[in-house]
Symmetry: C2
Subunit: 419 residues, 2 copies
């Protein structure tokens, strides 16, 4: 009955996904213990499809802002801003100007003249995205709790569930990487197109907002509807259990009974800059890495399954009576089965900031998630922050929360109903 | 005879490229002064072609290392390393291991097992590039002057022209962004593929080298043979006059009479991390920007021409007798016509480091150039550093110089002839 002790990455629970039949005699996470009799196949699966840089999305189409359930592009520039305005009208004008500019950028057009035809004229558009095409750009704008403090007189219009996140277990937040009154998430299949959009919006915002923090993400680290699952910089597929169905988006992402200007397609955005100690991670043995994620590294299958999308069997035990999926594993803690059915929609990107102060590679995950109740994130992260086995290798160093209004109709602008 | 005072970006020298016939009555750089009767066309030209992420290059093909005259990919990770080894043999073994690993990465394969089949085994490959395809990855390795100091006993094998760059006018070099005993330039059409290569080489190098500095480049800022000219983050086409012909590569890039192990395809690599004060630049008027580059912003044509690839006419004057191309302009100073015919081959990338200490966008150009005599760069930068009008907006903050050996033959490894 016992399988030969070989094929760590491929030996699976006999009988297939979630069968719960323990086999194998090996003890400890360091050794393979499951088998499905399959053969190993470690070769890459052949590369992603070619990227079409001429695709574009219409800013004014749809109830929700694009960049949320839009198939995830390959690059992201996520920036937050502090308001310096003293009146709601200044913010209103900025959001109107931003809306028009975003629509232009998403169509692959400059936000104004690159070379204005007057002596002494400064360019309206900074020019670096000329000729680059729309590259599937989306720009998603959020409003933070600070918009509704005493400064602008908008307190009565505050989204019902918008509040600064509480201190959460394991937080190592750095003030200079946290907060912000506005957020701009620009995603595109060309990073120069995404950067151009954020740069020109920032430029347009001078005198009304100051830049606060920014993360440049690449190689998306989660998958939208219809997309294959990418890998994070720990080498694991990330986002296998992400929300994929529009019915689930309806249930968990879009608000229904919020302030008027948020209804009809609004949502909440939680952003976390998560440092990964990848050099320390790389020194950990793969069996332990797999224990921590409760997944096989190569194909992303749960430790109780054979295929990536098999449902994890959190109750399965091995022949010594130990759970196959460590209850402290990341997947066990994050599973909706263990969180009253709660799910959040993730839209993350990998990032690197080069080399850190101790000479190690400085990298991680820019985690952006959308949900119709920020308390869902708070519940999940309270649990993860307390006892996730992954905490040995990661730290949440940046954080922000924003209300994301619906998409404007043509002729209107973002959050128009707020004013 | 005078043209109407309109169409700054399109009014050109009457009669076409380099004709030298001055028209128009406007004075000063702030106003358009040339016309060709053309019509304005500020629209983007329609986007780049789709990117094929399944393309690959063979590490062992060709005399020169790939990543030099290879058509420039869209992303670059440039990292330098300090040697901690005390024997030449350690370096030799590292270069042999790197060569094998580079060949694997360039073929889209992991550098070893992602999930080794032994209890307690650490992964050989970090895994994040699994499934991503080769993405046209090239990895180019260089050896800095430090390799040939007293530490390893290799002084007698030093490339003839390899020496630390002298202090140059306008240098604002930061030690933590400069130097290095080895350089690795990984370029690919997927940044995660490039990052994976550098990360796994760095990991392989532990105990022999430490990471020193790194730049992540995107949206290539110069063009190789057959490529259209991209834009830098100042919004200008960059690299219009770059070397495009193999005869010019032969004349200016590949060494001929160097130490034995460099001959047959070696070259020198100069790397400069150049900060651009893009927010200050964005506040300058376009006419002045065009004066500084001596080019029209939208289409990249020289101020004396109608089309991007028209040869600048540095002797053309306007009707007041002033030169059309400011002799302090970047193009005038960099022109081979003004530098004894010297040309270097550029392979640059844009970069951004987020927001700087005063809240401005932190961005610039990762300038990498190849040449068969580093003195060519020294001559050019001595001139540019002294009086380039662009110096008001840029600063060289990082620097390195490296000897780049030829590509190894299959069964051999990088710089094998050195040992």
């Amino acid at each position: 009955m016992a399988a030969p002790d070989s094929g760590l990455s491929r030996r699976r629970l006999l009988g297939g996904a979630g069968a719960g039949v323990a086999v194998g005699a090996a003890a400890g996470f360091g050794v393979g213990r499951w088998t499905d009799g399959g053969t190993a196949s470690a070769a890459p699966t052949g590369g992603l499809d070619a990227v079409d840089l001429n695709s574009s999305t219409d800013f004014y189409t749809g109830a929700h802002q694009s960049g949320i359930d839009t198939p995830q592009q390959r690059y992201c520039v996520f920036m937050t801003f502090d308001l310096t305005a003293s009146t709601a009208q200044e913010l209103q004008v900025l959001l109107a100007r931003w809306s028009a500019a975003i629509a232009q950028c998403m169509a692959g057009e400059p936000v104004g003249s690159v070379a204005p035809d007057r002596a002494g004229a400064v360019a309206v558009d900074t020019g670096e995205a000329l000729d680059l095409g729309p590259a599937s750009l989306t720009v998603t704008v959020g409003l933070g709790p600070g918009v509704f403090d005493e400064r602008l007189g908008l307190a009565s219009r505050k989204p019902k569930l918008l509040a600064d996140l509480p201190a959460l277990p394991s937080d190592q937040l750095r003030p200079e990487l946290s907060g912000g009154d506005l957020s701009v998430q620009a995603c595109a299949d060309d990073p120069q197109v995404a950067y151009h959009a954020v740069r020109d919006l920032a430029r347009m915002g001078r005198g009304v907002v100051n830049t606060r923090w920014v993360v440049l993400g690449f190689g998306r680290a989660s998958a939208g509807p219809g997309q294959s699952t990418p890998r994070n910089l720990m080498g694991f597929k990330d986002g296998t259990r992400n929300i994929k169905e529009s019915a689930d988006l309806d249930e968990f992402v879009w608000v229904e009974d919020d302030v008027d200007w948020m209804n009809g397609g609004g949502t909440y955005q939680v952003a976390r800059k998560i440092r990964m100690d990848i050099e320390i991670w790389d020194a950990d043995d793969v069996a332990d890495q797999q224990r921590i994620f409760a997944r096989f590294k190569e194909d992303g299958a749960p430790l109780t399954g054979n295929h990536e999308f098999d449902t994890p069997d959190f109750s399965a035990t091995d022949d010594t009576g130990q759970p196959v999926i460590d209850p402290t594993s990341h997947d066990a803690h994050a599973a909706h089965e263990h969180n009253n059915g709660i799910r959040i929609f993730r839209r993350g990107y990998n990032f690197t900031d080069g080399i850190n102060e101790v000479g190690q590679l400085d990298a991680g995950l820019m985690f952006v998630a959308y949900m119709n109740d920020p308390d869902h994130f708070i519940q999940l992260q309270t649990r993860l922050g307390r006892s996730d086995a992954l905490n040995e290798y990661i730290a949440h160093i940046g954080s922000g929360i924003f209300a994301v209004p619906p998409a404007p109709k043509k002729g209107s602008y973002l959050a128009q109903g707020l004013f």
